[in-house]
Subunit: 166 residues, 2 copies
């Protein structure tokens, strides 16, 4: 006689549980953070890159970013400790104002429009303030609608990133 | 009897000799480069900083920039090997396009309007191309008239740097 294997209790979907999120330290979630970011960042890439080249260069870029400054991650999680979003903030010396600055390298949520991003941003700003940062700085692509989202949260334009293909 | 000390031959002014400039490797000139840049960069600083704080933070910011990537300096010099201007370029992995990118961290000349900056920029671009960079990227402050200068040299806007004071 075959014993039926007990089916694990099914968890409610992330979509449902995301309503009740909390913010916590993100260091234990870095693998999930970069896995999620690598997928999302793909859509902002302009030049043609095959998958292998993209993954190699993605890993190299992250390593270069991590090489300097003090880094901090926060994640939004649901009641089952499942990843819902993150913010990555880095404390350095600003190269224009020459004060301690917190660069927001990345802020993402699986479910936009539910306030997760706002709370993550506030948490990153709070951490930066405690660490002595005088300002927060970040880069937004021209084709990214997040520009208006930041402006509603008191961010103002300071500089332009210019490029030329070689 | 007192011997008259021979007066050293006086060199023509930089203003004159700058007409006949050449470009060369800048590594031997880094002290002069940063001395000049520290003065010029002061005018772009927004927050109040006393002199000591500025100099400390300037040194820290430069150290942080030098910690990652492959760096190259070129200088413009006159016929007496005197400094007239420089460009600082750094090869990294782009954090948005994930291709090798050359960041122009700094380009300055003592005598604007004589073509020194253009030739320095071309030299930096040439170096970057040889090194395999797919693009050149740089940041221009909103209140810096250099924005138009770059646009005339085929640079286009890619992103906005946003800030918020803490």
């Amino acid at each position: 006689m075959l014993l039926r294997k007990k089916k694990p209790a099914e968890l409610p979907s992330l979509e449902e549980t995301a309503e009740d999120f909390t913010i916590t330290d993100g260091e234990k979630y870095v693998d999930e953070i970069f896995e999620s970011d690598m997928k999302i960042s793909r859509s902002f890439v302009h030049p043609h890159l095959d998958e292998e080249e993209y993954e190699e260069n993605y890993a190299r870029a992250i390593k270069e970013l991590l090489a300097t400054g003090e880094h901090k991650f926060f994640v939004a999680i649901d009641g089952y400790n499942r990843y819902l979003g993150h913010v990555w903030v880095c404390l350095r010396t600003d190269t224009v104002d020459f004060v301690p600055v917190a660069y927001i390298f990345d802020i993402e949520t699986l479910f936009p429009g539910r306030g997760i991003g706002s709370v993550l941003l506030e948490r990153a700003e709070g951490w930066a303030r405690e660490k002595g940062a005088r300002k927060v700085s970040l880069r937004v692509e021209l084709d990214n609608p997040a520009l208006e989202w930041y402006k509603r949260r008191s961010y103002h334009e300071r500089a332009i990133v210019l490029e030329k293909e070689l």
